[in-house]
């Protein structure tokens, strides 16, 4: 494979990995930026997306868990993947609204530490509830039939079609959310609230309603991440935290509350990861042939550490600290 083809493949894989981080990070970032609420349970929303998506799109046999013991081992509506792609965001949006109303709102005035502890506790409860219901073993989420298999791309050659769909769906959603925040009256209120919530209220605007919608949208994006990412990972109750940490890193290196920052951060992490997976250092003269795949997970943290040392507020973040 030529060097250019290899670079294109790394780029595409990186875009796909980054896309999942971006979907999660945008939600985290706008919730953190507007509502100043730290959501350690964001990974749980992703897991809800995974399981609801699984149950809507196909029929799955759960061999462990209480549902299986009570005779509901085989579950699922088998409506197909498109149905999951529509139903999951709605379900998780409603869940996000409920979370804002009953979890986040009573804690807006409590210290950040309490918010983290609460959402961390809820993340554990959600994870364990899934474990009790569906068992701790992994399920597989099948790709939609219309998007399985590989496509021939110029330069790159054969590339899994579903990965391209993940990039496309993420791109579309990012543009939509960006337009909503940048170019609508709703977005204007949200952005004003980010700057100075008290002032917005003094001007006679009910800030709580846009806030609740922001929480819902952020949650729905995490749900979508679960559905589109599902066929590329395993489905089990613990994957929520595995994606939560890179998503947080994406927010931190991109800059808080910035959608463009989240996209940039996600792309940097995704491409770093796919680069390390593919790259190996070969110096035939010295007999060196070292593959960097084991470092792929470490690499994203190292990149984050470097960015943080050079630019603590994140790449596209402003100098303003949230208190």
């Amino acid at each position: 494979m030529s060097l250019l083809a290899e670079a294109a493949r790394i780029l595409l894989n990186g875009l796909q990995t980054g896309a999942i981080y971006v979907l999660l990070a945008i939600g985290l970032s706008i919730i953190l930026g507007t509502l100043k609420f730290v959501n350690f349970a964001h990974g749980a929303l992703y897991v809800v997306g995974l399981y609801v998506g699984l149950l809507v799109s196909q029929e799955t046999t759960f061999s462990q868990g209480q549902l299986a013991e009570f005779g509901f081992g085989t579950l699922g509506l088998d409506l197909g993947f498109l149905a999951a792609l529509i139903i999951v965001p709605i379900v998780v949006f409603v869940l996000g609204i409920a979370m804002e109303r009953f979890v986040a709102r009573p804690f807006y005035d409590r210290p950040d530490t309490d918010q983290i502890l609460l959402t961390f506790g809820l993340a554990i409860v959600a994870q364990q509830a899934f474990r009790v219901l569906f068992g701790g073993n992994s399920q597989s989420f099948s790709q939609p039939e219309w998007a399985s298999g590989a496509v021939e791309l110029p330069l790159v050659g054969g590339f899994p079609q579903w990965r391209l769909w993940v990039i496309a769906i993420t791109g579309l959603l990012v543009v939509l959310v960006y337009a909503l925040i940048e170019f609508t009256d709703f977005g204007l209120t949200v952005r004003a609230g980010t700057q100075d919530a008290e002032m917005v209220q003094l001007l006679g605007i009910r800030i709580t309603r846009p806030y609740i919608v922001v929480f819902g949208i952020g949650a729905a994006l995490a749900g979508v991440a679960g559905v589109v990412g599902g066929p590329l990972t395993v489905v089990n109750p613990t994957v929520g935290t595995d994606v939560l940490v890179p998503a947080f890193l994406t927010v931190v290196i991109g800059g808080l509350g910035s959608i463009r920052g989240a996209v940039l951060g996600g792309l940097i992490l995704g491409i770093t990861q796919s680069f390390l997976i593919q790259w190996s250092l070969v110096i035939p003269a010295l007999g060196i042939d070292y593959g960097f795949a084991p470092w792929s997970q470490v690499g994203i943290y190292a990149i984050a550490a470097v960015i943080l040392l050079v630019r603590p507020q994140g790449l596209l973040g402003s100098e303003v600290e949230i208190s």
């Binding site: 730290v38 506790g121 554990i124 947080f248 931190v252 470490v298 943080l308």
Partner: protein, 382 residues
Amino acid sequence: MHVSDEGANPTETEPDRGETVGGSTGTTPLSDVRARWKRVRERESTIIGLTIVGVALFPYLLVRAPVISELLRGYQELASLILVWGIFAIGFDLLLGRTGLLSFGHAALWGTGAYAAGWLSANVVQSPLVIVGVAVLFTVVLSVVLGVLSLRRGGIYFAILTLAFAQMIYFMASAPLSFITGGDNGLTGVDIGPLLGSVELGSELPSIAGTLLGTWRYAFIAVALVASVAVILRILNSPYGVVFRAIHGNERRAEFVGFDVRRYKLAAFVLSGTFAGLAGALFTVQGEYVPLASLYWTTSGEVVIMTVLGGVGTLIGPVIGAGIYLWVENVVSGGYPFDWIGPYWHLVLGLVFVIVVVLFPQGIWGIVEDGRSWITERLEER
């Protein structure tokens, strides 16, 4: 409701408050005795003495005492494990409870202590004291690095960054450094030698000490716990501890007064990391095996839960939290007579944790303290 002086102040950090308040409540014999007891109770030596009595009685009550041990279904190694995690939790609380910083990366420090101790024992020396000492030094160095990186940003970033860098260390241990750590299999081949070259840690203590404490291993860990409590008490009652409290109370004000807040936070992080490393090394001494999960974020989560459950900002709270968590994890999950709740132990602990965070931020020990001050108030009204 009248707020008593006990409710408002963590008792052990205010050595001379009790005198004035106790003296003003009246001259009845009861309140006089109470005031005197309060003065005694707040002395460092009294707290250390009570700790010694506590760790001496604990394994007897858990493992060998009639009736109680039958109910608790404890065993010797569980007693040791609870003390190890107890050290971890009081060290963690030095950060969360005293300085107000929530770290989600203490697994890195605990795990590093554990791996360093394990690797040393498998490859270099077997003396428990040397292993633990070197492992602690190793952890201190790592604490400084992690602390400097994580304290680049304040507030919520601290929790996120400690979590992130701890995960980085986990992933380093899991794949690229697996030739040292053993990767997913954990570190095997741990070989802990005799204490001071003569006493096997697994052997029973002689006579009454054996009945109370059980093994030398437990005694070794118990001494470490008592020493930790003594050191932490000294820190808290020193000017350093006062600055920690000032930062906890109002960070900006502490900064305006002229303290270099970031430096004190780093100091608190490193001190806390030192105890995490000590506990991690003792974990290796206790279990003679280091699982990869000791570096995973769930370990950080466990120490957070223990500390908050037991009561932040107290010395005994985190140890109680550790005891309850490990007892539930190891005994309740095991079946009879708890099989009705066993499979759900983790879910139940999660729910209890959420309830504590929402309704009882002072934790179990806070509830006990509230109950005690309520009772003494009633007694005084008589």
